[in-house]
């Protein structure tokens, strides 16, 4: 009987944390969701009232964000996050993998290099941002670095640059998304066909054809806005990406290095005995074994990049429109402009994006754990 009493004690000891997380995470998310369906702050006189009159307005805030005339900034922010995420991930994975490979070659002073490449991880994004803000002054910093060896200075204006490239019409987004989904599904179909899973391949191919056909016909005539609205990649983000990669590539290096060390040396020896040269060894033996690490790193870094806030705040300021992201816009909208309902809607969009990345990850890694 004693054991069952102990089990109750155990549950009781966990309870405070469960309640705290239940209220502060899930209760608060629920409240944010409710706020996002209300008009709190749409009428500015009610925003900070002690007992504000709040009415529910359904999806109005979301509709405004995605198709409203005023909220064009939010849509550009989404595009910014998209490009930032892609380049940030590519940079961190590429540089991290490269550094890990170099350090895996029995180099002298490996500990020193490892410490050096990883030290930015221990800094605050605010410190990094402050330092890189100074590094990227248009008439100083990195731009005048070539002059120290007698070359002409660079002219790029970094954070204050106003150029936008790869522009596309927001109205084309549903069609473009459709094409992208169709391509991915076609890839799934091909992979399943190769694995001999005919039925799955057939279903995937049919869905790909259906979505692709929709995207190229009806999808093209879907108009989110009554007028064309161009968005693209703001070159001002290059500086932010550089600073973010500088800070975070040590993390991927550490992950990859741990992965490389986990590969049994017999496996490498066997490949060498079979006549593989160093390049073939990495391509056919080592890289495939590192794939799960790449996936985890992409998810962890991806959710960080969706949430990126402090780095941009410190580097470019919260008000610099060309380097804005939804996380910053939410802060400005809710806490500077007191438009709580719209801020809440932005926060919910952000949450859904992060959850789409994290929930499958948590699901698979914890399920794999119980099976083990």
């Amino acid at each position: 009987m004693k054991l069952t009493r102990d089990r109750w004690t155990a549950v009781l000891m966990l309870l405070p944390s469960v309640v705290l997380i239940g209220v502060f995470v899930y209760g608060f998310i629920g409240q944010t969701a409710w706020t996002s369906f209300s008009d709190w702050g749409r009428v500015s006189s009610q925003a900070l009232a002690v007992d504000p009159e709040i009415e529910l307005v359904g999806w109005q805030n979301y509709r405004d964000l995605f198709t409203g005339f005023i909220d064009v900034r939010f849509r550009q922010d989404l595009v910014n996050t998209f490009f930032f995420t892609i380049f940030f991930l590519a940079g961190c994975l590429g540089l991290g993998l490269g550094l890990a490979f170099l350090l895996d070659q029995d180099v002298k002073g490996e500990g020193f290099f490892r410490t050096l490449f990883l030290f930015p991880m221990s800094l605050s994004f605010v410190v990094t941002g402050t330092v890189w803000r100074w590094m990227l002054q248009p008439r100083g910093g990195v731009n005048v670095l070539p002059t120290t060896i007698g070359l002409p200075a660079w002219e790029f204006r970094w954070l204050t640059d106003r150029t936008q490239v790869w522009r596309f019409d927001w109205n084309a987004l549903p069609g473009m998304t459709g094409v992208l989904v169709a391509v991915v599904l076609a890839g799934v179909a091909l992979a399943s066909w190769r694995d001999g899973r005919r039925r799955r391949a057939g279903v995937a191919l049919a869905s790909a054809a259906l979505i692709g056909a929709w995207a190229l016909t009806l999808g093209r005539s879907v108009a989110l806005l009554p007028y064309p609205e161009l968005h693209g990649f703001n070159l001002a983000f290059i500086g932010i990406i550089l600073a973010a990669v500088w800070q975070m590539s040590g993390y991927t290096m550490a992950l990859y290095l741990a992965g490389l060390r986990g590969i049994p040396s017999e496996l490498r020896e066997a490949a060498r005995v079979d006549g593989a040269n160093e390049v073939q060894l990495y391509r056919h033996v080592v890289l495939p074994l590192l794939q799960p690490i790449t996936l985890s790193a992409m998810i962890i870094l991806g959710h960080i990049s969706l949430k990126i806030f402090d780095l941009i705040f410190a580097m470019a300021g919260a008000d610099n429109a060309t380097t804005d992201v939804p996380a910053l816009l939410m802060y400005l909208t809710a806490f500077r402009a007191n438009q709580f309902s719209k801020g809440a809607a932005i926060a919910m969009v952000l949450l859904v994006m992060v959850a789409a990345v994290i929930v499958p990850y948590l699901w698979t890694s914890l399920r794999g754990e119980t099976r083990r």
Binding site: L3, R5, D6, R7, T9, L14, P16, S17, L20, I21, V25, Y26, Q31, T32, G98, L99, L103, Q105, V107, F113, T115, L116, F117, L118, F119, M121, S122, S124, V126, V127, T128, T130, V131, R133, W134, M135, R139, G140, G141, L145, W246, A254, A258, R272, E278, K307, F309, D310, G317, Y331, F335, M348, L350, L351, V354, I358, Y361, L362, S365, E369
Partner: protein, 273 residues
């Protein structure tokens, strides 16, 4: 392969280049912080200071000392509380499996990945309603609660390594829930606590979003003060650079001295541990 061995200098060349790039910002911070404001101009950014201007650090200290004190109070209190609670949670979740634990744990874990913007408005409202908005106590509370998932995760994975037989033996000796924790689990916890404390210390010290939305001017931690100083127009750059060094020093010292444990916490963040 033989050719590869002969060209080992390429490896060192690449590592040297990478090191130079990683150290570039460090060099710039150091020289800028040691220049007199009048000696700083954009054209000679990279040159060494002609006279060492240690005054920057004294000035930065005057500006930032109260904020550093805030950061220390906040970080130490929140780290200790979240580590202790995480240890208890990890003990329960690894050694006292109960029905529903498989649901509760992932739900707790999700809390460390959410964008905090999604809870910020209710949190702000809540702290305002109980009179803790603007002060350090409210911020500490937020960091304890939102730190629970990661501390619980690290301790759960750490305690999973303690063989169940040890606890069984303790049970035969008549030890109950607290007896087993106090006599067997807690004494073995030191490395776990080191990892968790280092991780939480670094995270909370470096945090910005909660700090900037939930504290008033006099209770600001160092990160907020630094961002404000550097964000102002026409700043004298020696001051924010010296401030950046002051803000970075505590976590940097922890990293250099206890790097092994820092990396453990880092890798634990990718769930599988």
């Amino acid at each position: 392969m033989i050719a590869w061995r002969r060209h080992r200098w390429v490896i060192y060349l690449l590592l040297g280049l990478a090191s130079a790039v990683f150290l570039l910002p460090v060099y710039l911070v150091a020289v800028t912080s040691l220049k007199a404001p009048a000696a700083i101009n954009l054209a000679n950014t990279w040159s060494l200071p002609e006279a060492w201007h240690w005054q920057s650090f004294a000035d930065a200290w005057t500006v930032f000392a109260p904020k550093l004190a805030n950061s220390f109070t906040l970080t130490i209190a929140a780290t200790v509380a979240s580590a202790l609670m995480g240890s208890m949670n990890g003990y329960v979740l690894s050694k006292w499996r109960f029905p529903g634990a498989n649901v509760v744990f992932p739900l707790m874990l999700f809390g460390m990945f959410i964008p905090y913007q999604a809870i910020l408005i209710p949190l702000f409202e809540f702290l305002r309603s109980i009179g803790l908005y603007g002060g350090l106590t409210g911020l500490i509370m937020a960091h304890v609660v939102y730190g629970l998932p990661i501390t619980t995760l690290i301790f759960r994975n750490y305690y999973a390594e303690i063989p169940d037989e040890m606890l069984e033996a303790g049970k035969i000796d008549g030890a109950g829930f607290f007896g087993l924790y106090g006599r067997i689990v807690f004494p073995l916890s030191l490395p776990g606590f080191v990892v968790v404390i280092i991780w939480q210390f670094t995270q909370i010290w470096n945090e910005f979003l909660f700090a900037v939305t939930l504290t008033s001017q006099e209770n600001q931690p160092i990160t907020v003060a630094l961002a404000q100083l550097a964000g102002g127009e026409a700043v004298r750059w020696n001051l924010p650079m010296a401030g950046a060094i002051l803000a970075a020093l505590p976590t940097l010292l922890v990293y250099v001295l206890l790097g092994r444990y820092f990396v453990k916490g880092l890798l634990a963040g990718s769930v599988k541990g």
